[in-house]
């Protein structure tokens, strides 16, 4: 049996807008991936622990609250601490270009802005996964 790509989609922090996260989760499911959706109001600890227990290949975070400069680095750090530094993290939301640059330099695999075609996200994960497998 071939390896199925497992993805965790989470929403860290306090904003309650999960439409984007759900659209992405559905698109990845339809692309044949197993998507663990953790719902709203997650702490970085909850997301990192869930990602480790579920042994996902990729974590996708949706952040619309402006807390991206805290959330992304913290989750990357926690994943490394838990021995899961190989898990790739990508994100989506309202993230200014200069912040996106800094986050990508800090280890976030990719940030997708508003208006992204879900097929681009599917392709991105497939390509990245092929590299890490």
């Amino acid at each position: 049996m071939g390896k199925t790509i497992r993805v965790l989609i989470g929403k860290p922090g306090l904003d309650g807008h999960d439409r984007g996260a759900k659209v992405v989760a559905n698109a990845l499911r339809d692309a044949g991936m197993e998507v663990i959706y953790t719902g709203l109001h997650q702490t970085p600890e909850m997301i990192a622990e869930a990602a480790v227990q579920e042994d996902v290949d990729v974590v996708g975070l949706s952040i619309l609250s402006g807390a991206h400069m805290t959330m992304f680095p913290r989750i990357l750090e926690l994943l490394r601490e838990k021995g899961a530094g190989h898990i790739k993290v990508f994100g989506g939301g309202i993230i200014p270009a200069e912040d996106a640059e800094r986050l990508e330099a800090a280890g976030v695999a990719r940030l997708f802005g508003p208006g992204t075609d879900t097929r681009d996200i599917v392709d991105f994960i497939r390509k990245n996964f092929a590299q890490s497998a």
Binding site: T4, R29, G32, Y37, T43, E45, V52, K82, G83
Partner: protein, 324 residues
Amino acid sequence: MKRDPDIALLLDEFSRGRVAAAARLITIVENGGDRAEAVMDGVFPMTRGAYRIGFTGPPGAGKSTLVFRMSRILRGEGKRIGVIAVDPTSPFSGGALLGDRIRMQSLSEDPEIFVRSLASRGSLGGISSCTDEVADLLDAFGKDLVLIETVGVGQSELEIAEKAHTVVVILVPESGDGVQAMKAGLMEIGDVFVMNKADHRDAVGAARELEETLRLKDVPEEGWRPPVVLASATRETGIDEVRERIEEHRRHLEERGLLAEKRRRVLYSRVRGAFMDRVERRVWEHESVRSVIERGMEDVYGGRLSPYRLVRELERLVAGGLQM
């Protein structure tokens, strides 16, 4: 079988309690094949007989929420908990949306609770085909109890009955006549019934109706008669009573030697199932078998040979001994 260095390393970390190693081993087991078997060879001797509780019922009955509440109660008793939450795989895309964690969020903060979501991956019995193996892994990882949540079931997804020591069936008053329709299957596998959403105006009536139906069940003297508990998983009422009934059922099984018997029966059927899969594959792909099939099928297609005559020829071939 040669020892995979990667797996040996993971097993070593696993035995030292590393969560990431346990999670990776579960993935290997899920993906099947020789590596999965190598993992199980290492893990099985480490199992300590964790008690397995199944939670099943129709979609939306409140299974995830009840599992979440139950996990918290059990943690309060100092128990270490493994949770296996199964959701369906789409037969069209092969993908799956695993959403049980939404209702178990704060469990992620407790390191003594390990929650793993599994996709059913084509298995039709309401659970994943590797549920036994993942439960073994959690058992070997030091969990005292393994809670298994099935997909939302209808009338025929009853495999949980063969995997769990106690089966909790969760129903809701809204099911109404739907409950009637489900009686055949679900009513036979439940050891404890929960009428969830107890705040619903029809809940008491529905629970009474359920009790009456269960009373008609033919239970031997001193046998277990499944109780019905009114509960509300979201409002947190009745959960303690569900816990007590599960414990009573466990004692019932233990005192009569039925638990040991059940464990033996499960292991026996696992060996049988795994052996049959393997034999089937090897025989079906065997050169001599292939050539008899290919030749014979032409006659079957042409209507000259009965399919069963061909089968008997194959059986004689196998009985005569295949060079494996």
